[in-house]
């Protein structure tokens, strides 16, 4: 083919220019270490890089959230541990008080210590976290949730429970409201609670109770009758509609069972003494303990009064046991959440590593390949330049 002189020059220049552009591009890849510099370099990869970067930011945040949640849950667990210890001490003191050898003075000492434990429990329940929020106040986090006034605790928080997002579809509760931990606790044995009629004159007392699955929830009255001292003691159990559900004779230490409930009595009642069984309600640990204190303070040195105290303390022990159960339930729950946090953290971390690997596969330049490509390009650029110079030297005019 015939070539024009300008064409020869131009094509030489063009090939040098395009080689230079290639070298420049490769150099950029090398200096940034990245294969995809603008979306047009690889549109699909560019969108993928955006998605992965965004996903990694989210995971970082989930990990931060998990750290935050963990420290809050650990704080709560520590508080519950202290609360359990205080409660355990109260339980021991109540057991100690429920002993016939105590007199009013020793009961006074016990009452004083129990009162201190009560204050301690209230303090624990009013603890703040590192953000200055009350841990057990629900959403009312700037209000001290438990106010103790002359032995009565009122709850000023609410039932709110906060969650933290620790995974794409995983939210974990980072606290428990005070009402669930300290207040909404079933009373008695969980099915019913009991009390002695304050007009009782006998020595009979209720030491413990139990209920099986057949328990029919209702209010019952157990009344003892003994016409003369020689007669056997009989009892009659009536339900809320005054219908008799059980009758029988009683001797000291007998248990009385009816409608799935079992009451363990001891000592001898007087004629007409009554005990009441009522369905379980919500108790709170503070008023349970306050009741113990006031019962200890107000007991008289009479058989009847001490029998009533004993019944009351027995019920208080059952209430305290329910509370201890609640504390350990909550702690178990916290433990489960901490486990979930750990496994979620592992999932997040490994996902993040995986994403990083994918990102580096997509985004990063293969250095070996890029460097050898650069060398190749430089070689052909040099070749083009040499060819240009030598071709330009050729002209027929050199010979005429």
């Amino acid at each position: 083919m015939r070539l024009s002189t300008v064409q020869v020059f131009q094509s030489g220049i063009n090939s040098i220019l395009s080689q230079q552009a290639d070298v420049n591009k490769t150099q950029q890849e090398l200096s940034s270490g990245k294969r995809v510099l603008t979306p047009s370099d690889d549109p699909v990869a560019a969108a993928e890089i955006l998605r992965i970067n965004s996903e990694m930011t989210k995971i970082d945040q989930y990990l931060d959230n998990a750290d935050m949640a963990e420290s809050q849950l650990e704080l709560e667990e520590g508080l519950l541990d202290s609360a359990e210890n205080a409660l355990q001490r109260v339980r021991e003191l109540v057991l100690q008080a429920n002993n016939a050898t105590q007199d009013s003075e020793t009961r006074g000492f016990i009452a004083a210590e129990i009162e201190e434990r009560l204050d301690e429990l209230v303090d624990i329940a009013n603890s703040k976290n590192f953000n200055g929020e009350y841990v057990f106040a629900g959403f009312q986090s700037s209000t001290a949730p438990f106010a103790l006034q002359s032995g009565v605790v009122s709850y000023l928080g609410d039932g709110g429970q906060r969650f933290a997002k620790v995974g794409a579809s995983s939210e974990i509760a980072v606290g428990d409201s005070g009402v669930d931990v300290f207040m909404r606790i079933p009373s008695g044995n969980g099915s019913f609670e009991y009390s002695a009629n304050s007009a009782n004159t006998g020595a009979a007392q209720l030491g413990s109770s139990s209920a099986d699955a057949d328990f029919i929830s209702d209010s019952y009255t157990v009344e003892f009758t003994q016409a003369t001292a020689d007669d056997p003691i009989t009892y009659t159990v009536t339900d809320s509609s005054a219908a008799t559900v059980a009758t029988g004779t009683y001797e000291s230490g007998d248990s009385i069972s009816f409608n799935g409930a079992t009451l363990d009595f001891s000592s001898i009642p007087d004629d007409g003494d009554q005990f009441f069984v009522t369905p379980t309600t919500s108790q709170d640990v503070f008023s349970t303990i306050s009741t113990v204190v006031s019962a200890l303070d107000s007991v008289l040195d009479t058989t009847a009064s001490q029998a009533q105290l004993s019944t009351e303390l027995s019920l208080a022990l059952e209430n305290i046991d329910r509370t201890a159960t609640r504390f350990s339930e909550v702690r178990t729950d916290i433990g489960t959440r901490l486990n979930r946090l750990d496994s979620q953290r592992e999932i997040n971390t490994s996902f993040s590593l995986q994403l990083e690997e994918t990102l580096s596969d997509i985004e990063n330049a293969d250095l070996t390949e890029t460097i050898s490509r650069l060398n190749l390009q430089l070689t052909s650029l040099e070749a083009a330049q040499q060819a240009y110079v030598s071709v330009q030297g050729l002209s027929l005019f050199n010979y005429i």
Binding site: M1, R2, L3, S4, T5, V6, Q7, S11, N14, S32, K34, V36, L37, T38, P39, S40, P43, V44, A46, A47, E48, I49, L50, R51, N53, S54, T57, K58, D60, Q61, D64, N65, M68, E133, Y134, G138, F139, Q140, S141, S142, T143, D158, G159, G160, R162, F163, A164, K165, A168, E171, M183, P279, T280, T281, S282, E363, S395, L396, F397, I400
Partner: protein, 634 residues
Amino acid sequence: MADLINIGTSALLSYQTALSTTSNNIANVNTEGYTRQTTDFNAIIPTLVGGFYLGNGVEVDGVQRIYDQFLTEDVYNRSSSYGSAASYASYASRLDNLFSTSNSGLQSAMDEFYSAAQDVANNPSGIPERQALIGQAEQLVDQFSVLDTSLSQLNQEVSYQVEVTVSEINVLTNQIAELNNQLSKGGASTGSSELLDERQRLVQELSAKVSVRAIEQSDGSLNISLQDGTSLLTGGSVTELTAFRNEYDPFKMEVGYSRSAGNVNVTDSITGGSLGGVLEFRDELLEDAQSQLGLIGAAMSISFNDQHQLGMDLEGNIGQDFFSSFSLNAIGSSQNTGAATVSVTLDDVSQLTADDYELSFDGTDWTLTNHNDDTTQTGSGPFSVNGVTVTVSGAANAGDRFLLSPAKDALGQFSLAMTDPRGIAAASAVRIDQPLANSGSAEISSLQVMDESAIPLGSDITLTFNPDALGAGVPGFDVTGIAGGPLAYDPTTESAGATLSLGDFEFEVSGTPDDGDTLGILDNSGGIGDNTNALALANIQNDKSLLGGTSSQQDLYSAMVADVGIKTSRAESRAETEATLLNQAEQSVASVSGVNLDEEAADLIRFQQAYQAAAQLISVAETLFNTLLSATGR
């Protein structure tokens, strides 16, 4: 003898011409558009002498311009294609650079913003966390505005480019018209080679700006029209193009020509050349990117505001707008004569698309046309399309029209309304109350407020369980504090959980309530430790509610970036291909018409030798003459 001298002289003159043509070729070796010339020789008609024809020497038949019409036209076409691809690619790559991976501005601003929302959820009453969220929101707004500004600047540059190119086109057509005049005076065959070269060069330059058809007329002049037939040049008369403002958008330039009745818009007929490329870039990439970005902004500000208004701030007030609310506009054409006004409202951001719409009146009916898919609705309105309601009022005249770009409207208006960290509504506006006095196990969970008009509550809502709430033996909740009760709920079958709705509230009830147990929904007063709404706000990030429930905000953004990337990379490879094709076409022309110095050197030697030989003829004739003189003069 005389013949010998005559023959020698004719040869000397002819080779002088040939040498000068060759010199001219050499001299113009670097002249753009120069077509090489060759000298054609012709033997002079012989004379009959005594029964023989004796030759009379040589004459120059003509100086030939060496060119190939088809190759030249191919160069015109390739110039148009390349001009279009190159200008498209150069603008596209600037857009592409805005979204370069090292500068992932908007995406990371979005990520950081939602992360900050989660930090608020971790400590809802903490002022530093709230301050940080507002800081991140400012960052986000900045990123939007940087992109918005860059895109508008690009748009203005496109408009400027259109204006400049149109005036360059006019200069070229005028120059060609001038050459037409000169060439047609002499007739096609006698046209000066240099003038033809010049005209060819100008047509190629014109082709690089806009694709044209050039048709040579019998008088040697060239008629030029756009590809759709719109005449730019007939003989010596030029139809000048003008760049004028779009009827809706004064910053957008259209191309047309003026008639006494007004400008005739030929923008859609412009193909090829740098003008075609830049218009294609504006239509296909730039405006699309603006709409897509606007859609993200609209989605973000509306979704976030809607959720924010369902929450409660640190002062116990219901959440205000977090981002500024924005208004949608219908822009009336500058040529409207009627008094109609059009209002546009956004009902459902999840249905909103990046589409533009045109609303036009034909004298009886309005027609709403979607520019993207050309679907239409006709009637008197209101029209409902993709989450937008369009209402027309007032009297219009036939031909009146309006442009609606709901997504793009949002772009310029995306800004932050919230400045007070205490104003961030991290808490839910309502909370659930389960009184301690309940003896049953019923509880409410997953409480959701469906509309901000329901909050704050007029009075506390109380649900009281009643085994005969809906008639004897049909259990449920009696409701006070809100209309809509009683609610059916049967603990024997639904204790695992039943979703109930009451007014604008939706919640799940589970468990077994006892007769008279109550459940409450209360204003969340004092609930500053609540992070429910902050979590909901942070969750918007993952919410695939846009484009009819298929995309999240991030999906929209990465789709947009991928779209820009795909179009840019396509444009760049097209520009490269077209450059090669143009180069090949030019090579083909050059291989026919270009000057080769070696060839000219050879010609130079050839003609020089022939000239020397012819001079020798004169010398021989002189010697012969002298021989004769000396023989007879004795």
